[in-house]
């Protein structure tokens, strides 16, 4: 899976905007998007919010979790715990990138938020690598990892699966009785 595909899936998340135009309720296949009145906040998916913002038709309000104090708390908890803490949002990395690239004027302290999110990401990826390493070195059969976001899984997926494949190959050498297709004895 491409990171671009993960970003595409992240654009379905709901975010609050304040439009400066008015429009009646629109009925889309995915759901209804409520009537737009200038100055009144309305909930829309991120793809629409970015599009309207680029056409300068709205103002994006940062989501609840995108706040410096809250992110600092999350970062401290992440550093203390050995296991994964619930992320601020299942798509925190993608939303941060999208919103901060297109709507940084609507989000207070954008640079600090970017740094904090990067710290949280680095801590989680380091924990992921540590647990992958212990998984392989102790030759466990399966592992359970809660609270991982799709982006994190996506970056590690190909490498981890490849190495588990190799381990399987090498382990199947230890049971020669189960291998099929040995040369027949005449």
């Amino acid at each position: 899976m491409d990171p671009a595909e993960v970003e595409f899936l992240a654009e379905k998340e709901i975010v609050k905007i304040i439009p400066n135009f008015s429009l009646d309720k629109i009925y889309l296949i995915g759901g209804d998007l409520g009537p737009f009145n200038p100055g009144l906040p309305v909930q829309v998916p991120v793809w629409l919010a970015l599009n309207l913002k680029q056409r300068q038709k709205c103002r994006i309000l940062p989501p609840q979790w995108m706040d410096v104090d809250k992110l600092e708390e999350v970062r401290e908890m992440e550093r203390k715990e050995d296991s994964f803490t619930p992320p601020p949002s299942p798509y925190y990395m993608e939303l941060t990138k999208l919103l901060l690239n297109h709507a940084s004027d609507n989000i207070p302290k954008a640079d600090e938020i970017r740094t904090l999110v990067k710290d949280i990401w680095d801590t989680r990826i380091a924990k992921l690598r540590l647990s992958a390493d212990s998984f392989i070195s102790q030759q466990e059969a399966h592992a359970k990892l809660d609270n991982l976001t799709l982006m994190e899984i996506n970056t590690t997926r190909s490498f981890l699966l490849g190495s588990l494949n190799c381990m399987f190959k090498l382990r199947s050498n230890m049971q020669p009785g189960t291998s099929a297709g040995k040369a027949p004895d005449y």
């Binding site: 899976m1 491409d2 990171p3 671009a4 970003e7 990138k97 690239n101 690598r129 992958a132 390493d133 392989i136 070195s137 030759q139 982006m151 996506n154 970056t155 590690t156 997926r157 190909s158 490498f159 490849g162 190495s163 190799c166 381990m167 399987f168 190959k169 090498l170 382990r171 199947s172 050498n173 230890m174 020669p176 291998s179 099929a180 297709g181 040995k182 040369a183 004895d185 005449y186």
Partner: protein
């Protein structure tokens, strides 16, 4: 995007080889020291050291893996294969001590693959060989993972130097994951670039043709 029109056949699992896998075909070119157990009449031209017309019993030769596997029979003794020194007791203790310092590329670029194939030849040390292969892989895994995930946009030839072919494949996969993530973060996905084909093709313009 990850989908390709040509999907290369990966090397086989453990003791099996995939017939169409290029890695396995190259692997089977590795030579094994072996000793003939019976006479090979009129094949003397293969053995350059002696001038006789046949290959005598008990000659020591180096046979490639594909030939050795085909000729090996447990009951009717045609050839007997010796383990290459990398898989023997001495080297196994080295691997047990510290797997990360060994230059696996020099030890035969297909250390793991050849080791798995050696298990076909019913040596009494088979379980130890299999165990040593597994432990070496596990020992080196951490180093491979760290180097592949942290080397972005730099010359990786120094890192890849001491890795065996299997590990190089893993390294490349890790690099690919890292590069695609970093590329996404920089916004390369929305940046249009001319395809390499078009740049190399250098179409002739109509005005050049008419002149």
């Amino acid at each position: 995007m990850d989908s390709q029109s040509y999907l290369p056949v990966p090397p086989g699992v453990g003791m099996e080889e995939n017939f169409l896998s290029l890695d396995d075909i190259l692997l089977s070119h590795e030579r094994l020291p072996s000793r003939t157990e019976c006479l090979f009449p009129r094949l003397g031209y293969l053995e350059k050291s002696t001038d006789s017309q046949d290959i005598q019993e008990g000659t020591k030769m180096e046979l490639p893996l594909w030939l050795a596997k085909g000729l090996y029979e447990r009951k009717r003794r045609v050839v007997s294969i010796e383990l290459p020194k990398v898989y023997r007791e001495g080297w196994r203790t080295v691997f047990n001590a510290d797997p990360t310092v060994v230059d696996l590329h020099k030890m035969g670029p297909y250390y793991y693959g050849l080791g798995s194939q050696m298990l076909h030849f019913d040596s009494p040390e088979n379980p130890e060989i299999a165990q040593a292969l597994l432990q070496t892989f596990i020992g080196r895994f951490r180093r491979t993972m760290d180097s592949s995930q942290n080397a972005y946009n730099e010359d990786t030839s120094a890192l890849v130097d001491r890795l065996d072919t299997l590990e190089r494949g893993l390294f490349k996969m890790g690099q690919r994951g890292l590069n695609s993530f970093q590329g996404w973060e920089k916004g390369k996905a929305s940046h249009l670039t001319a395809s390499a084909l078009v740049l190399n093709y250098r179409k002739r313009k109509m005005t050049d043709l008419q002149a």
